[in-house]
């Protein structure tokens, strides 16, 4: 029986997850490398600037290694990555690694805080509504919940952000609307990026809770006449987290996208504003570096969720995934 040998399921689980991570990272490296290769036009001309002489461009091409074969360039690229060398900005000649190191903390702060807020608000909210409305009780509350979450959930973060900036920042003047100088500057961006996902995930939680409350094992737990807190927290929460996270995990990783957009609304000095700038300037090394880092971050979030899922549901470890 699997009880007796604990190791294999863990190993299998770790191997599968690690495989996934490696796959994503490889894909990321290939894609970012391809940015330069697939770009229409001549990267060297872009790098050398608008008024460069053909001579300068040739030199630039040589400096960038663009005159070599594609495989050789790829080997170079990977080699540099392994040394932590992400290249230099065409525009500012800054080290891209330095740019990332500069900006990443802001983006990570925003995204991680957003995830925490989402989980802390959405899960209790969804559960509460599900418990209050079970068996068709409190239809009005149910209807209001469905409507409000539907409405807010389909409002994009930049619209929400705009609204917040206007009402809270400008009209009321309570909170700073731009920059990241103070701690309270975090509030509006975090609210803007998390409100939509909170609604979407709260709806998922509400639905999944209703499913769990109807399960046989929950009836068994009811049969033990546990106090309500213990009943819901011990016998419903882990199970609904499993199914919720399976569905919501994508949303959480997708939050990075929202962060990138929201940064522009709030003039947040993160990777998002920088990469948008870089794209409009066609500053390829910066784009490459930032996309690589953001992608790895998304991959990391997914990995975290998978690990949490594995801890929550013993069946995912042994590969007999519960499914959704």
């Amino acid at each position: 029986m699997a009880v007796l040998d604990e190791a294999p399921p863990w190993l299998g689980f770790a191997a599968r997850r690690l495989g996934g991570v490696l796959l994503v990272l490889t894909a990321l490296v290939v894609i970012t490398f391809a940015i330069v290769q697939l770009m229409p036009g001549d990267p060297a001309r872009v790098a050398a600037g608008a008024n460069a002489t053909p001579d300068q461009i040739t030199r630039m091409r040589h400096d960038l290694g663009l005159d070599r074969s594609v495989p050789a360039q790829f080997v170079d690229y990977v080699g540099n990555l392994l040394h932590g060398d992400l290249g230099r900005s065409f525009h500012t000649q800054e080290n891209v690694a330095d740019i990332v190191a500069d900006r990443l903390p802001y983006t990570a702060e925003l995204a991680l805080l957003g995830i925490v807020v989402i989980l802390v608000v959405a899960i209790p909210l969804g559960m509460l509504v599900a418990v209050l409305c079970q068996n068709g009780r409190r239809r009005r509350l149910d209807g209001a919940f469905t409507f409000v979450t539907g409405f807010v959930g389909s409002t994009p973060e930049y619209v929400l952000g705009t609204l917040l900036v206007y009402v809270v920042g400008i009209k009321l003047g309570w909170l700073p609307v731009a920059g990241a100088a103070t701690v309270d500057a975090l509030v509006l961006p975090v609210v803007a990026i998390s409100l939509g996902p909170v609604c979407t995930i709260a709806r998922i939680v509400r639905r999944e809770t209703a499913v769990v409350l109807g399960q046989d094992y929950f009836r068994t737990a009811r049969g033990r006449r546990l106090p309500a807190r213990r009943l819901y927290l011990r016998h419903a929460l882990p199970n609904l987290l499993t199914s919720t996270l399976t569905l919501a995990g994508l949303l959480l990783a997708g939050l990075l996208g929202g962060t990138v957009i929201a940064e522009s609304v709030f003039a947040w000095p993160g990777l998002g504003t920088r990469v948008v700038e870089a794209i409009t300037q066609r500053d390829l090394p910066v784009v490459q570096g930032v996309v690589l880092v953001l992608g790895s971050l998304a991959c990391l979030i997914n990995l975290l969720i998978d690990v949490v899922l594995g801890l929550l549901d013993p069946r995912t470890l042994s590969g007999k995934a519960a499914g959704s």
Binding site: A2, M39, F151, T155, Y158, V159, S318
Partner: protein, 664 residues
């Protein structure tokens, strides 16, 4: 019942209709707006950055152009781009998914894994990458959002196709030789179209938002073209001076997203409601069913040592329909009482009412429904309202429950040990260690080897039979006075069933535990129980001892019909003195028809439509419950004493009558 049901049906439709109306309006606008307002939208005006006014509802922009007109005109480009991206995502995704599904199992596994990884990659970042490769602009954005949406469609298609293709009806069609194209067209597509459509509308909403988002960042639509996102981003720049500029595009984006979302939600709800319930229940055809009469004749004498007393129990739906209708019985100390009946006869609800565990929305009413204990007050099980801690403790410790499906009745996320010892720990304050010791003891009693290891295991690590034995151990842990077992062996193999029955009997002998044992298998009940209750359409039709049932002394036409319909292992000659299931022509005596639905029960005997011995009086007068002796009741109009009761058709029927006569 009608009120709740109608509301439930109406809401998703309202949602769908609202969404569709919204989308249609937007599409009409997209077509006509550039013709009607196109000039006005590009017309430069003298007054720039105007606020809202009668002439310019949403004010004007930096060049004095009317923003209301611009917002309306932008509808076309916005929707076009979103539709294009959705089309790319859905077509490419569906094709990819189909390819994954039709390729071999190995490719499929890898393909699904890759798709999973792709899904988890944020669309906006992918879009940024593509925007960086191609020049920033609508083309790059549409391709990016479309590509980013592909994996969801691929996964859904592959999963749906796999789940539908795995269904029996597809396998059957294959066996019949239905060609693959026709198979796809007639069997698979109709069954997966709806979820795909839901995804299309959700994906449209997402594309719209993401594209506007990219335009907002300045990576999407480039001036002089404009879509909502572009307008919003311009509006945001003058948020301090003229907030009205941002209103139009913001509202438009939200409305469009909301409409598409509504369509998706509505479609999903409709799919769930059509595939879920069958049309078996006709709403609104409810007859005022007369309540079952209370017992007549000698009183139900309840012995002093009774553990469970149930008198005139009714379980009602919120609309008042009685699902269980006037059931009266008791369970004496150390007695095993069985309940048999067809599906839907109310066995489980009776049991759950006795356990005070009715599913939400149902309520129990009873003359008496109580758990008795010599050392304490009787515990009322039908009392409305919440239970205090003391009552909960008594319920948890004096009643043990064993459920039907051992694989679903344990929480898959928790170790067995915690689940088994929970009642002891929570209600009796037993220490962890002692609780484990007691659990081990009970697991040994139910003959589970290596119980310590099992306590550390998760439910899925045990076999079905083992899980059911663990469930019995769990029920026995508090040494309850009563065990309620609802079809505990139905999901098990015969040999395992025999083991489980033996265990229940052993527990009954060891602890003197009384039991309410439910089964639809009359053989199982005769084997295990002392006394048997036969239920039909929510009512108790007969109560008799297991010995009487075994020896063919059942009197109620339904009980007899049930016996006659059950095939027997012994061929004719060997079942000497017993009821023989078969009539001479090798056919079983089937019971024609089906039991009535709870809301369609006739005024008289609910069995009348199927009863071979039906009398005119049966149709409109409920049969009286006659108590023949303590623990022996029949509810039937047939004059019970000495009267031969022919079982439906068949030459062997005479033998039953002889048996009945001999006793009666």
């Amino acid at each position: 019942m009608t009120a709740t049901r109608v509301r439930k049906r109406a809401r998703p439709n309202a949602m769908l209709v609202t969404g569709l109306v919204g989308l249609t309006a937007l599409f009409v606008l997209a077509v006509v707006a550039p013709w009607i307002w196109g000039d006005r939208a590009d017309e430069l005006g003298p007054s720039v950055h105007l606020g809202s006014s009668g002439e310019h509802w949403l004010g004007t922009d930096a060049l004095g152009r009317d923003l209301f007109a611009r917002t309306l005109v932008a509808t076309r480009l916005t929707l076009e781009l979103a539709a294009l991206a959705t089309a790319i995502a859905s077509i490419a995704g569906t094709v990819l998914g189909t390819l994954i599904w039709v390729s071999g199992p190995r490719v499929r596994a890898v393909g699904l894994r890759v798709v999973d990884v792709m899904i988890s990659y944020p669309a906006v970042i992918l879009a940024l990458t593509i925007a960086a490769i191609l020049d920033p602009g609508p083309k790059a954005c549409v391709i990016a959002i479309g590509v980013a949406g592909c994996p969801s469609f691929a996964r859904l298609t592959a999963n749906l196709a796999a789940s539908v293709a795995g269904r029996d009806f597809v396998a059957t069609a294959r066996l019949l030789g239905v060609p693959s194209l026709r198979l796809m067209r007639r069997h698979i597509l109709p069954n997966i179209a709806e979820p795909l459509l839901v995804l299309v509308s959700v994906s449209f909403a997402h594309s719209l938002m993401a594209l506007s988002g990219l335009s907002f960042l300045g990576l999407g639509v480039q001036l002089p073209d404009y879509d909502w996102g572009q307008l919003l981003s311009t509006g945001l720049q003058s948020l301090y001076t003229n907030p009205a500029e941002a209103v139009g595009p913001a509202v438009a984006i939200v409305l469009a997203g909301l409409s598409a979302g509504f369509v998706g939600d509505g479609l999903a709800a409709r799919a769930a409601s059509t595939s879920g319930n069958s049309a078996a229940v006709k709403p609104g055809s409810r007859k005022a069913s007369a309540s079952a009469p209370v017992a007549t004749g000698t009183d139900h004498s309840v012995p002093d040592d009774a553990v469970l007393v149930v008198s005139d129990l009714r379980v009602r739906r919120p609309d008042g329909t009685a699902l269980v209708d006037g059931v009266t019985f008791h369970i004496g100390a150390a007695e095993i009482v069985g309940v048999v009946g067809e599906s839907g006869s109310g066995k489980s609800l009776t049991a759950m009412a006795a356990a005070r565990l009715l599913p939400g929305g149902l309520r129990a009413e009873a003359h008496a429904l109580e758990l008795r204990n010599p050392g304490a007050e009787p515990l009322a099980l039908a009392a409305p309202g919440r239970d205090g801690a003391a009552v909960r403790r008594r319920l948890a410790t004096e009643i043990g429950i064993v459920y039907q499906d051992p694989s679903a009745s344990f929480n898959p996320a928790l170790r067995l040990g915690g689940q088994l010892t929970e009642t002891l720990r929570v209600h009796l304050g037993v220490s962890r260690r002692e609780a484990r010791e007691r659990a081990v003891e009970q697991l040994e009693f139910v003959r589970i080897v290596d119980p310590e290891a099992r306590l550390r295991a998760y439910p899925h690590e045990l076999s079905g039979g083992m899980r059911q034995r663990a469930m019995i151990a769990s029920a026995l842990l508090t040494r309850p006075r009563l065990i309620i077992a609802d079809e505990p062996t139905t999901a098990l193999d015969v040999t395992v069933q025999a083991e489980v029955l033996a265990l229940l009997r052993a527990a009954n002998r060891r602890d003197g535990t009384a039991m309410l044992f439910i089964s639809h298998d009359i053989g199982v009940v005769t084997d295990l129980c002392d006394r048997v209750l036969v239920m039909y359409a929510g009512r108790l039709v007969e109560e008799l001892t297991a010995a009487e049932l075994r020896d063919g002394h059942a009197r109620h036409p339904y009980t007899k019909a049930l016996l006659a319909a059950t095939p027997r292992l012994e061929p004719d000659g060997e079942a000497d003195g017993k009821l023989d299931a078969e009539t001479g022509d090798g056919l079983l005596a089937a019971i024609p028809g089906r039991p009535p639905q709870p809301d369609e029960r006739p005024a008289g005997c609910a069995f009348a439509d199927r009863c071979a011995a039906v009398l005119p009086v049966c149709r409109d007068t409920p049969p009286p419950v006659r108590v023949l002796a303590p623990g022996r009741t029949v509810a039937c109009h047939l004059p019970e004493t000495g009267a031969p009761v022919p079982v439906q058709a068949g030459p062997k029927a005479g033998r039953h009558d002889a048996a009945v006569e001999a006793v009666g």
